[in-house]
Symmetry: D3
Subunit: 248 residues, 6 copies
Amino acid sequence: MRLLLINPNITEATTAAMVEEARRHASPGTEIVAVSAAFGTQYVENRAEAAIAAHAVLQALAEHAAGCDGAIVSAFGDPGLAAAREFADVPVFGIAESAMLTGWTLARRYAIVGLTQRLRRWYIECAEEHGLAGRLVSVRALDLPIPDITRAKEQFRDRLLAECHAAVAEDGAEAVILGGGPIAGLAREVAAELPVPALDGVACAVRLAEAVVGLHPRKPTAGSFVRPAPKPAKGLAPALFARITGSA
Amino acid sequence: MRLLLINPNITEATTAAMVEEARRHASPGTEIVAVSAAFGTQYVENRAEAAIAAHAVLQALAEHAAGCDGAIVSAFGDPGLAAAREFADVPVFGIAESAMLTGWTLARRYAIVGLTQRLRRWYIECAEEHGLAGRLVSVRALDLPIPDITRAKEQFRDRLLAECHAAVAEDGAEAVILGGGPIAGLAREVAAELPVPALDGVACAVRLAEAVVGLHPRKPTAGSFVRPAPKPAKGLAPALFARITGSA
Amino acid sequence: MRLLLINPNITEATTAAMVEEARRHASPGTEIVAVSAAFGTQYVENRAEAAIAAHAVLQALAEHAAGCDGAIVSAFGDPGLAAAREFADVPVFGIAESAMLTGWTLARRYAIVGLTQRLRRWYIECAEEHGLAGRLVSVRALDLPIPDITRAKEQFRDRLLAECHAAVAEDGAEAVILGGGPIAGLAREVAAELPVPALDGVACAVRLAEAVVGLHPRKPTAGSFVRPAPKPAKGLAPALFARITGSA
Amino acid sequence: MRLLLINPNITEATTAAMVEEARRHASPGTEIVAVSAAFGTQYVENRAEAAIAAHAVLQALAEHAAGCDGAIVSAFGDPGLAAAREFADVPVFGIAESAMLTGWTLARRYAIVGLTQRLRRWYIECAEEHGLAGRLVSVRALDLPIPDITRAKEQFRDRLLAECHAAVAEDGAEAVILGGGPIAGLAREVAAELPVPALDGVACAVRLAEAVVGLHPRKPTAGSFVRPAPKPAKGLAPALFARITGSA
Amino acid sequence: MRLLLINPNITEATTAAMVEEARRHASPGTEIVAVSAAFGTQYVENRAEAAIAAHAVLQALAEHAAGCDGAIVSAFGDPGLAAAREFADVPVFGIAESAMLTGWTLARRYAIVGLTQRLRRWYIECAEEHGLAGRLVSVRALDLPIPDITRAKEQFRDRLLAECHAAVAEDGAEAVILGGGPIAGLAREVAAELPVPALDGVACAVRLAEAVVGLHPRKPTAGSFVRPAPKPAKGLAPALFARITGSA
Amino acid sequence: MRLLLINPNITEATTAAMVEEARRHASPGTEIVAVSAAFGTQYVENRAEAAIAAHAVLQALAEHAAGCDGAIVSAFGDPGLAAAREFADVPVFGIAESAMLTGWTLARRYAIVGLTQRLRRWYIECAEEHGLAGRLVSVRALDLPIPDITRAKEQFRDRLLAECHAAVAEDGAEAVILGGGPIAGLAREVAAELPVPALDGVACAVRLAEAVVGLHPRKPTAGSFVRPAPKPAKGLAPALFARITGSA
């Protein structure tokens, strides 16, 4: 099975960290192929950056999905996930949704812990859009400057862990999701220190993708996830243009 | 007051039709400036096309919002509306949300009538994202091929009107929104034939924009609609790049 | 355009203050006509007083709506708003609902700040009845005696502003509505001191009424807002009796 | 135990019919005292008439509640129920809410069958206001002229029964509430012909009132059901004026 | 009227305490028959114990319901209540649901105060399953060891009362339910010290059962509460086996 | 990895069919161990039978979970799932929840198709309890006698398929879950004939269990899924008694 991991932002170091975590959790025989966004921002943390990232995700699918059995939108917040499901021929997974669905099987109430205050609202809206906010008890984040996002996982490990503990003790979380590509792997590293399951979006997405892709669900030909009919377009990257206009 | 009307798709004829309707409802002293998407598709009717359109809306704001007092995202479904509010320095309105809010003051239950079956799900999700689905009783649409979207308003007038009547009689709609840029103005034309208020998104957006802009609400410096801080980016159009990176 | 501003309580000084604020925000050509409740209480702050006020609003419409293009129920909490919409031949607006709908276009989460603790629950139920409680994060109010309600705006300006700041900082409000007729105008006065939009119900209602009335929506002849059929009655004021029994 | 049954409309024949049904279900030792609205309409079936009726209910409480242990607002739709609870010193029950709560103990899904189409929307909003709409599957009503409301129970018995059967067979109702004062007693008369429990609002209210009053719950001195503090008023009936202003 | 009070746990002392409270609130002519669970645990406070208790409730009904007019599931949390309603030929009441429904007529917001932290989540899920969580503001419980559950009522009276006061002052509760069979009667004992109604599940269930049973609702022959058709079974107690297989 | 498949009913043929389907979807290295309920009914289709089955599930866990890495409650409706999660030391999955969560990644709206009308309401309540009813558009079932539940899959294949098609065409389902142990495997057999993904509960549960168990989530020591503390009990099967009382 080949899975395409799409990093919706432009930071290669984050892509590399996520691929490493993905491969650690992949089953034998699962190949992880990765790509970073062709355009966008260093780190996605609000609605405007997510809007741009969603476009980049579609372009990445147009350019790289051929030959893959499934794809992963690998930024917490899942920019463009529903659009990607409509657009792609294979199942697509988001790291936020995957972690939430995994948490659904382990607990009644989950929390998300992320890097920045700015991310909080976007994460909440992500859960709402996914129809999974009913069990979200809190989104906690650091409230201090992040000088280097690619080193945040090491630098703020203790503070993030403290937020996880607070989510359990004060908010009643029964599972904690460590959200955000740059902290991929942190859930695994702190799991033993927490009294409830700690979940990593990338790990959950890889496992869930393997599970669902292995069921061989068909691409629908009815409903709102049918691939859109060809339509005139302009100003798009060649592969995306070709797929949207049906010229390829 | 100067309002920027952004058509999130690339069809100039639709832009022109919407501008005409906008000007018809504008108060004396309100100037309507219009722009079509620099990239995207002929007509936005699903999540994938909306994702691309949202990016185009931000780019249009970056390029054209200077000197405007407010902006209108002028495709029913409001692609990128929340992102645009975060991104812009002035109030931004969507034609779907504006029609829904107007209907809120006139009825307890509203319906949307649109052109194509494909649009239906997107419109529902638009209402859900806006937190306004609680009073939406149905989304009705034609179920036949639309050979020329720019002539659909004339060609399918009677069938669209029949759907409006069905929304009232069968679904209990107490207000009907005629949704979709290509049918801008149709609500006005059929209003006298319907037993409940008929609402046009463009008309509602212009009126609501005038109302709210005239209150001079401040751009927030707290909360999730604060303008995002500058951040490294790549691959974006110059004006958008400049605004996102803070280099302009 | 002529708008009838109905004060559902009996305090003329409050009526005068609201009219002044209304005229300040009205467009050229908009005339504001005002009337106080013919019966009721000095200030409406609970369900019982609101029930009486709703009757007074209908009576005011029966007596004064002729020749007006729209009406405003001008007590925060909107007593009798839905009944008034059913009853009147012209669009009717509430100052609470209008502020909420305006806030809907500017923020995802709004708070209300009012004068007394007693008002808090009524305001929450008002938002629920309007279907707009989904984004209401808190209702804050002073917790001290109000010796003279007509002078409260000046006397408690700083404390009310402090509650607004708390709504932003502690509750996450992204827009703050200053609720209550006696503090009409306070939102405008403190707007520059708050980091998010500050909204005044009277101002929002006047602007929204102008916007919607200008669309010329029809009085429905289908649905639950049709004018009730004539029916025997007794014990009502002459104009109200005449309108309800169809004898006028 | 003495219970005050308040008919919120002015039709004495309906009051008499409801009192008869109430006494039939009352326990030994329960006395039913009845009063019709001092003002209002022949029959309450929409929001405007309900607004007036709510005021009349408060006046009836002010004039007649002394010496009673509980009160019943005896029009389906429960005009003024929450206000009455705040206002009165004794527990107050609504015939709609009582039937809904009784149905809650017998079924997961209930329907309401009433006399006129106009009532339908008001009944739905009544269930919503009571927080009990989550299990309401439908509100059905006759769609024909009612020449004499006081004879409707006999005249339309078969048609109302047919709607009850349709509620079970088509809507999945597991309990059916026969709503509306003028058809008080019909549920009892048709119960044997229906495959699910048939509930009468007056009967349920009397039984529930006996149950709750017998628990001797205290009038709260905290929360939103505390009796409002005295306040200046004008234009009210003497007993109501005295109670509101605290002058009696 | 004869009511069967089923204690879903195995502690006879708790059964006795609940019967005493039940008889105190029963009307003349109401007979209370009691039975403890034939199997299960000393005290039900989580989902696993409740699952076992639900089975025991059905067995108790099969063994003891004959000759009774109604039954009460007398553990707060109402284990097996919906199943019991389906299974029994007579109306069945839960002490949690009964208290919630009673509170519904007295307040807009209620709280539950119980003995142990472990119970809190189960009580919340109970309210959710009953469709009555919309007005639940908090579930408070002691956070200390309970050496002897049968003496907890006396031993922790002051601490439980303190939680009740906190529910009113901090959570805004307008009615407080004292939950849990072992503290049956406590609500009555502390009622005078609280500013809002204090409700006891057993008391409410007896009163509500009398009210509803007296209406003589029929056992449904349509819908999901029809008695299940006979079906092969094994491993069940004789009376339960006989009722399920239809062999008795 | 070893997974314990628990059939909550007593029919060995159904257990065998489910095990076969489970093994078909299991990854290499996954061992499926199966057990039927020690007591209960032939087929679980209502709340009462589910209550007994939940107890049987706990007993099966007590007797057979040792040495397993995860468990599956293998009756659609998931009797006792939450209790089992609390009770067991390993992750537990339900075939209904697993199919719903899988569908969540593939569609916005799903339907369930089952064998009997009686099952419909239970399935809906299952989705509600799991917090996953928000996207459930319908539960469809045959409306005819099932002479032999173990042969129903072959006998009613065409009628079940017709219901699936109706769920797509009439209800707007974008994924269809074939629910019920006796029809395990049917989804796979009809998948190619449906225009949307067809999902089998057993298949989804095995795949999801593999995914989540492979993440090695910890048994919580905080929150409502902590294993209950030892407690006196009586009348339980030896292994269950030992686990509950802590004597083993």
